[in-house]
Symmetry: D2
Subunit: 306 residues, 4 copies
């Protein structure tokens, strides 16, 4: 396959904590740009490395092409230059992904996060995925971060594909949301020489991720407990493993609650309790029932966060 003649990897360090920011909607399901920007101003106090815009938690799958670009533009407006904006530009087809990547870079994204295409999962072999990502990376004006999220896509980006792709100068890292720590360790081991970087895709295994060599995390929970997730990062990188362990333990249940258990409606509900604007979800996502809200609240209470 054709590749632009890159000679060296663009030096680009993605280490740190990122919330994959939620997209608040109004009651009639329009993007609420005011609340979106308000949240970002609110996040200023927190030592995030940057923001993931349109990770899975941003309901990107429910945004139109135009909205996806506009959301990035509005985020860039209020986020200072020194914070990275990593924009989710993945689409099912390669050409749509390239198009979206170009537009997001133009709108201010510092890097793009490209989810595996997955609808025809039976044919998304290592070979097909390698071709896809190389074409995208060849055309992208900004660094590319791979994104594997099997809970949503039903597809785990294969380790051999990741190893191959880690050698592309414009592919700088991987967000792994699968949480298989043995696999994550192996990927880090096999891509060490190329400076490839791994971000844990969830606060649930952030400590374990650091223990095997991850350099940060993209954590839904950071939308709610951002300072605490950053504190966990600090403890890990300063080798305070005992305190890190205690903090990690108290984050697991809240994390599961705002991801696997109650999903984005749970995440948005919890954001409201901590002073952020969750807003409404787009249909077909349903709001939580009262019983679910109580259960969710208990999880935060029982772990000492509310």
């Amino acid at each position: 396959i054709y590749r632009r003649p890159h000679t060296t990897r663009i030096p680009f360090n993605v280490a740190g904590i990122y919330p994959p920011i939620a997209t608040p909607f109004t009651e009639n399901e329009q993007v609420d740009y005011g609340k979106l920007q308000a949240n970002l101003l609110h996040y200023r106090e927190i030592p995030f490395r940057g923001f993931v815009v349109q990770g899975s938690n941003g309901e990107y799958a429910y945004l139109t092409k135009e909205e996806r670009v506009e959301v990035v533009r509005r985020v860039r407006e209020v986020v200072p230059k020194e914070k990275l904006i990593m924009a989710g530009s993945g689409c099912e087809s390669t050409q749509a992904t390239i198009q979206m990547t170009l537009e997001m870079a133009k709108s201010g994204a510092d890097a793009v996060l490209v989810v595996t295409p997955s609808y025809y999962k039976g044919k998304m072999t290592s070979s097909a995925l390698v071709h896809h990502y190389i074409k995208v990376a060849d055309h992208s004006p900004v660094p590319v971060v791979l994104y594997s999220v099997p809970a949503n896509t039903g597809l785990d980006l294969p380790v051999d594909a990741i190893i191959t792709l880690s050698q592309h100068p414009n592919i700088v890292g991987l967000k792994d949301s699968g949480g298989d720590i043995t696999r994550i360790g192996l990927i880090i081991h096999k891509t060490k020489q190329s400076g490839f970087q791994i971000l844990a895709g969830s606060a649930g295994f952030l400590l374990a991720g650091y223990s095997v060599g991850a350099v940060g995390g993209v954590c839904a929970l950071a939308n709610v407990l951002g300072a605490q997730v950053c504190e966990l990062e600090r403890l890990c990188i300063n080798n305070h493993w005992q305190e890190a362990q205690e903090l990690q333990h108290r984050l697991i249940e809240p994390n599961t609650a705002v991801t696997r258990k109650f999903g984005i409606p749970g995440l948005k509900q919890a954001m409201e309790w901590f002073g952020f604007h969750g807003g409404f979800c787009r249909s077909p996502l349903l709001p939580l029932t009262e019983q679910e809200i109580n259960e969710l609240r208990n999880v935060f209470t029982n772990n000492g966060w509310l």
Copy 2:
């Protein structure tokens, strides 16, 4: 939830065989409308009930919004009025699905086929899916056919949701591509009174589908062996079970080859051998390797079709 006051189900019979037509692309991945229309003219001889446009085999996931509508329009141009056009209008969000449904109806679709939204599969509960489909059906000017295809979506539309939805006057049937024949039998049993109709989503279990009460099929293989699939239909509805069985047996391997095993690239390759235009696929789908082409050809040869 709000529902338009329908008093009775729109009488709408979907019984029969439909190819979920492939979308040929040119070498540089543009929709090849010429080849698309040529295929349809070619299919005139075959007693199809109609055509599914933008089922999974139409690579709908790789088309832009504009292309999706344009493909329906072009198909309608060459397909006679008495043949049904069932257009796949499913999107991830409810509002995008409604929008697409309206546009496809305007472009000549007689019915829409609505795949389950699936990206946030953990939250696509029966309740969420029922809400989604009711909103779509309430707004759709044409009848709605549900579409469950777990091999692509990782999600099986739950039986209880189907039973509830079967009572909506504008939801007329289900295309079930999962192939669990016990489940299909149960759905037919539980929706009998409402005149709800089931279409087998594959030629692999078409005979078994008829045996438990399905009224037809949407079969990828009908793009290639359309006359034979229609002959199987004829044998089933005329109670020639012995001959039907023999024909069914010879269709299983070719069917698996152009679906699960070699996917759309295999389907398109086989179309070429039988006088149709498969054309190229859009990336990230890769063309078959030479070895795969040989294997595919052997499957058709060994079952007496080439």
Copy 3:
């Protein structure tokens, strides 16, 4: 591998309906041989082809080696010679399976049903399973029926292994409990010349099984509604497909209830309502709760059986 020089397949016809009989236990979990034999006397009126002793529903996994043999002996005592006894002799190791096969044949089994070994499922490749079954079949004094039950074993006997094994003169058929009707049709197609026979492993897809060429069924539900399952057989083999369909529909929910949904405790409970002795289960199987009993009963009532 070594194989006894068989020249021709032993002519052995397994066509027909078999209940995989339950093993009643006393309150303190001893095999209740009295109730076991009473059930068999009771089944005399029903035109079963024979009985499967120690299929999954016989709780064979909970019986000691000695009990497994003794149960076969006691069943043989009361079952007339013209009824086939097919005894489940599968164990995890090949040598234990051969040993058990020899003892069951000596105790009166007319054939053995050999479940796939499955504990080390990662290494139970086609090749390993073919070796296993050939050794067992070479040593077995009675015909061998393969048994694939993925719901319990987490393993589906691969089609290529079945095709290879179908050529062994002492392997006469397959009980397929997976219920993938496309797969069943393919197996029948590919083993046609060797006289290999397929039994549907559940009443849920019995009609569909017949439609693609199965010759009978081993159906848990036949422990409860034996006459009705045999009536479904009669309708299918006499080409009364419309009546067959209606009967099949009414059997699906009761079948699911006594298998996947409520398991053996459900099966045993339902047996009591129809005049048979279900008896207790062995621990760790728990008896149904009152609510589960009510739900189970409703399933039989709603389908007109109680």
Copy 4:
């Protein structure tokens, strides 16, 4: 349910590294007690905490009842009193498990490791599993360690069941072989007060296990690279995380090779290269092909172990 009046947990510390020892067989598949004992003498130099006899890697599923007990007896003969013998006593039925537990304790086991019963997995609810383990623990003269190994059983012992069981005074810990590090962290968090201990079930996630609070590991790879696995333990408990990470990285591929990839035949082959007696496997496990042996060897060579 009835429970013996225990007032306090038996103080019992399982922390440390254990190889789940392989069972060497002779060419004609008899247990080779000589080789078994020779391996144990060989392991004397390595600072293991003890030995797991008849974990999954001991091919316990292929041993007769008598062999299972005899293997424990022979191991005890050559293992010094200060090393723990943890014997796998799990069977499918509760009564067989209790019986086996009693015999293994009599034969010198210091604790028993009880795998989840799993054949009727659809009915192995939390409730059923809690009942099972409580009965076993009530009757066991030695401490009980729970054992969850979904790769073999298709069943993950649910977290809520583990929390309940952690309060039983005779249930002291869990060997978790699933490797979901978020789940492991959660279990440790929720059972902290009761002194319950977690052992990582594989060397692949041993470091990550320690990072979240596990106290040791039962690692197939320790049969081959025992000293290295113990060195990893030492680095972790002494907070040398950087060196631990480097060592962990080099152990992942060899670990995968002797477990998921090549299974017990791979483990036994690798043992031979490192001076231990792997011996033959029992059928249906097949020996590795020459190509597999080469692949396996490369894994050890590439990571600097051969």
